[in-house]
């Protein structure tokens, strides 16, 4: 293993960490602005022009706030839980190609930390480990709201892992590879070759499951403010709470990348135009997370379980079976 490869990998990791930490901050700003506009409000306006420096103000607040460890919590677990959420979110990014490869001064850069042959399996697996953030944090908090939230997050994440897995199975059968780059290259023929056209059901199922995986609004009962305060985050303060937040927003960005690459052609043939298209697709999916938050109500936990096991899972299984039959003949 040569030195250049190690340096390149470290640089890529640092760049991804910095960009997506910053994007998580900008994500909160966009979320507040978009929600405000949809509710005929203005959103943050006072810190900087159009409230743009609100991110900096929030960051300063989170960093300088006292990090309170309540008396009866299980201290080591309570302290490590936010790190699990943030770390697994960023670890999942290792197998995601963010940009087609390009050449700088004769050196070809692959903007993916590790093009492993089990890419999507790795991404989903690491995102699934992210469950331990809310679960352990909620159970260690010595707070009944956190405990309810922990139980809910365990139920939701594990249930919807099934949906993500089964819905992805059908496209993966068509592509024949788990690497996200191979999946992307399968669709290079333009908009007609996108997997969404041949696997619309899988696309919808994965999209629905993405809301559960990231804990966004229709399925936001992990931290539903009006029933369980902030759920697993109730007892957290300062930067530990901030890590939960960064993890959630980073997850939103990464799952948007995953949907765009698997179903909507990714960066296409690898030109700059294709790369910009990828960014636009990701932006749309991120915007959709905010859009639904303004428009849709939350569902109850039992409704969510019902939806998962009695509706989505049978449809996903049927989809896999039908895809198999079609491929066989």
């Amino acid at each position: 293993m040569d030195i250049a490869f190690i340096i390149e990998t470290i640089v890529k990791i640092v760049v991804i960490l910095l960009i997506f930490s910053a994007l998580a901050g900008f994500g909160t700003y966009f979320e507040r602005k978009v929600l405000a506009f949809m509710q005929r409000r203005l959103g943050p306006m006072h810190v900087g022009p159009y409230g743009l420096l609100q991110i900096a103000a929030d960051g300063i607040k989170l960093f300088t706030k006292e990090d309170i460890i309540p008396q009866n919590v299980v201290k080591p677990i309570f302290k490590i839980a936010p790190v699990i959420t943030a770390a697994t979110a960023f670890m999942a990014a290792a197998a995601i190609p963010f940009w087609p490869q390009f050449t700088v001064m004769g050196y070809t850069v692959h903007p993916i930390v590790a093009d492993i042959n089990v890419g999507i399996l790795y991404v989903l697996g690491v995102m699934a480990i992210g469950l331990y953030g809310p679960l352990l944090g909620g159970m260690a908090s010595a707070n009944k709201w956190s405990l309810i939230s922990a139980a809910r997050s365990a139920a939701i994440f594990i249930s919807y892992e099934v949906i993500t897995g089964l819905s992805l199975l059908a496209p993966l059968m068509m592509v024949g590879s788990l690497s996200l780059i191979d999946i992307n290259n399968y669709q290079t023929g333009g908009i007609g070759h996108w997997i969404v056209w041949s696997q619309p059901v899988a696309f919808i199922l994965f999209w629905i499951a993405a809301f559960a995986e990231t804990g966004r609004t229709p399925f936001h009962l992990v931290a539903n403010d009006h029933e369980i305060i902030d759920g697993f985050g109730t007892e957290y303060s300062g930067m530990r709470w901030g890590l939960f937040f960064i993890g959630e927003y980073a997850n939103m960005f990464f799952i948007s990348f995953v949907i765009s690459i698997i179903f909507l052609g990714g960066f296409g043939d690898g030109t700059i135009a294709g790369a910009i298209q990828l960014i636009l697709k990701v932006a749309f999916f991120f915007f959709f997370f905010l859009w639904t938050r303004a428009a849709w109500p939350d569902v109850r936990p039992d409704q969510l379980m019902w939806l998962c096991w009695k509706v989505l899972m049978p449809i996903a299984v049927l989809n896999v079976v039908v895809t198999g039959i079609v491929m066989m003949f």
Partner: protein, 207 residues
């Protein structure tokens, strides 16, 4: 950002009477529940919600009032911290020291001292309102025969001391403001009814 908003008439009348919403009975059997779910899933209600919020975002009809920079107009009958006014021509204080406000004040928070000055005019030397007791009922403004004490529009009364608003010098219109024409007649409590000039009749000489 002053603008008058016209409100729709939402009063219930014969034409727009209440009506009962048609609520279907809840499904009991599994098949009925399934049919309800299918109906709700494909009726597109979720997309109506998405469209509504998107429409509002595109219309960008923002109703936020950025408060310290923009203020909503308050109604003329709003009763904020009191003001003492001056006569327009001479600049004298309108208050004639009659003491009616002191007398009528039901929370007993107005206190005034008077003396006869060198022009044989009754002069108010001290005038204070204890805002800790004032209930802003408006009786003082209503009873004042000279339109001297009125309720102003100064509702931003955050201060270190309540007394800051009710020292006589603070309530009284300063002379330079009066000369600049900045004293505003208050249309609210105790003000002259519009058209009252026409209602005044000459006292018959026969009296």
């Amino acid at each position: 950002m002053h603008h008058e908003e016209t409100f729709t008439d939402r009063n219930v009348s014969e034409q727009s009477a209440y009506y009962y919403v048609d609520i279907e009975s809840y499904p009991t059997t599994g098949w009925d529940k399934f049919k309800q779910v299918v109906k709700r899933t494909f009726s597109g209600e979720l997309f109506v919600g998405l469209w509504v919020v998107m429409r509002e975002m595109i219309k960008f009809d923002i109703h936020t009032v950025q408060y310290p920079l923009e203020k909503l107009p308050i109604g003329p009958r709003y009763r904020a911290v009191h003001k003492l006014l001056r006569l327009w021509e001479s600049g004298y204080e309108r208050c004639i020291g009659c003491g009616l406000c002191e007398k009528i004040c039901i929370s007993d928070c107005i206190r005034m001292d008077t003396k006869i000055d060198e022009n044989s005019r009754k002069e108010v030397t001290e005038y204070s309102i204890n805002l800790g007791r004032c209930i802003f009922c408006g009786y003082c403004a209503e009873v004042c025969p000279e339109l001297a004490i009125v309720h102003g529009d100064r509702y931003e009364n955050g201060s270190e001391q309540r007394a800051h608003f009710v020292i006589k010098d603070d309530m009284l219109t300063p002379l330079d403001m009066l000369k600049a024409g900045q004293q505003s007649e208050y249309p609210g409590f105790g003000a002259i009814i519009p058209g009252s000039d026409a209602a005044v009749k000459k006292t018959p000489l026969a009296y």
